[in-house]
Subunit: 269 residues, 2 copies
């Protein structure tokens, strides 16, 4: 069950594989039939494509596979509804502007209690839908708000942003599984938690990372069904489950990654 996927690269990359793969895991047999979404960052903004319908049956997903825009940063989500009805407003990733940048957020897990405004105060941003994940997005951005407004047109230090991501993530982890991908268009932040299989049993690894930033050769992903159209370059992938036979590394519960242009800048556990 792959719900979260992200790609960060130095050069623009067309990502076809993730959507096909995620779509297959989204339907028609899969559990994740309630929606899908992809944010394609390009030149400081992001194109956000979403549908409150199974990715496996989506004409828009098929369109993206053929004509998906090249991007250096992609965040994708396949939804299995828990909180909130099947509707566009509850379909991830969520996107908001903060500090003149497009911020995108996608979450896997349940966060009961995230709507307690005294424990998780919001800033300027308000949820449009009813999902716990969107409240988590608005809460995180509210915590980030001061940092982005303090420095005016400058981008805050990565370490300062990572501190706040870690703080918010630690608070969310107390409520339930809080695997999330978050980007401000400059850095991709990843927070790993655990994942509970739908049929019960032991908790699983929440997120995996495939670090291709130091490869000398163009990686041969042809056997995996992966189609990344790009030049040889730094590239890092993150997903809920390993998507290829390559050495995807499991992330520990509470681990935070900060990734820019395909390279992991910070790794905190």
């Amino acid at each position: 069950m792959c719900e979260l996927f992200a790609m960060s690269s130095r050069a623009p990359t067309s990502v076809s594989f993730s959507l096909t793969r995620l779509a297959r895991r989204g339907g028609p047999e899969g559990l994740n039939r309630d929606g899908w979404g992809v944010a394609f960052y390009t030149g400081g903004d992001a194109l956000l494509l979403r549908e409150p319908a199974a990715a496996g049956e989506s004409e828009l997903v098929r369109h993206i596979e053929r004509h998906g825009p090249p991007s250096e940063l992609v965040i994708s989500h396949i939804r299995q509804a828990s909180f909130g009805e099947r509707a566009l407003r509850n379909t991830q990733p969520f996107m908001r502007e903060l500090g003149g940048r497009a911020h995108a957020f996608a979450h896997n897990g349940d966060l009961p209690g995230i709507d307690n405004a005294s424990a998780f105060p919001l800033g300027h941003h308000r949820p449009i839908g009813e999902s716990d994940s969107e409240i988590a997005c608005c809460y995180l951005l509210g915590q980030m708000q001061g940092l982005w407004e303090a420095v005016a047109s400058e981008v805050p230090a990565v370490a300062d942003r990572a501190d706040l991501v870690a703080e918010c993530a630690a608070r969310m982890r107390m409520l339930g599984p809080a695997n999330f991908l978050y980007s401000d268009g400059d850095v991709l932040f990843v927070h790993a938690d655990r994942r509970f299989p739908p049929d019960g049993g032991e908790p699983l690894v929440g997120l995996y990372v495939l670090d291709r930033s130091c490869e000398e050769e163009v990686p041969d992903l042809s056997g995996s069904g992966v189609i990344l159209t790009t030049v040889q370059q730094a590239l890092t992938l993150v997903a809920s489950v390993p998507l290829t036979d390559e050495p995807w590394q499991p992330l520990a519960r509470g681990e935070i990654l900060a990734i820019r242009q395909g390279r992991i800048l910070e790794r905190r556990s």
Copy 2:
């Protein structure tokens, strides 16, 4: 040269015609080759599709024509760049969240001086790109901010919102042509100004409206190339130029319309 188009209807409507028509007017011969965008409102949120490329050559426009999502409120824009380079971040409509609702804004005209922050102060929202139109969007939302934050979860009165739209529009008109479409997901606000033809000459009417809210019969648009897939219902269209042979009414300079579910609620001149 059609740059702005909007549809408001009581029942969900698939709009194929506007994109084809706008695309034809966008390229390959047309002047408006720098981008296109459509916001499809549905269930309180909006899907925003945009590309910094000619609509006439767009695969995504062709996809929308075949599989465009049914919507009660559509705002569309075809771009001819004046301020800001050809990039996604400068491609309209612009969208922001305010008061837990998706607000969309599309503008035709030039507004030199809109970046004077003492005359046109911004609220919480900041432009991501460099276009005058996006600054105008953020300025308008900044003026709306108090209204939406004061009433918490309630929707402010239409008259109060229309007052603010009129005030902002009057200030923008002093800078240059300020034809715009703006929606908070509840009401479509239209402000008409003048339009200056690219080859010089007398100013033209800025926007036209086709009010179909009181029709007894299903309108026969078959001869016009219009494909609106819907039931018989209230429907109002707005465009930069009349798109059919029907009696589109020219809007006077400074005229404001407030439209909800296909019916004109307020008309101010």
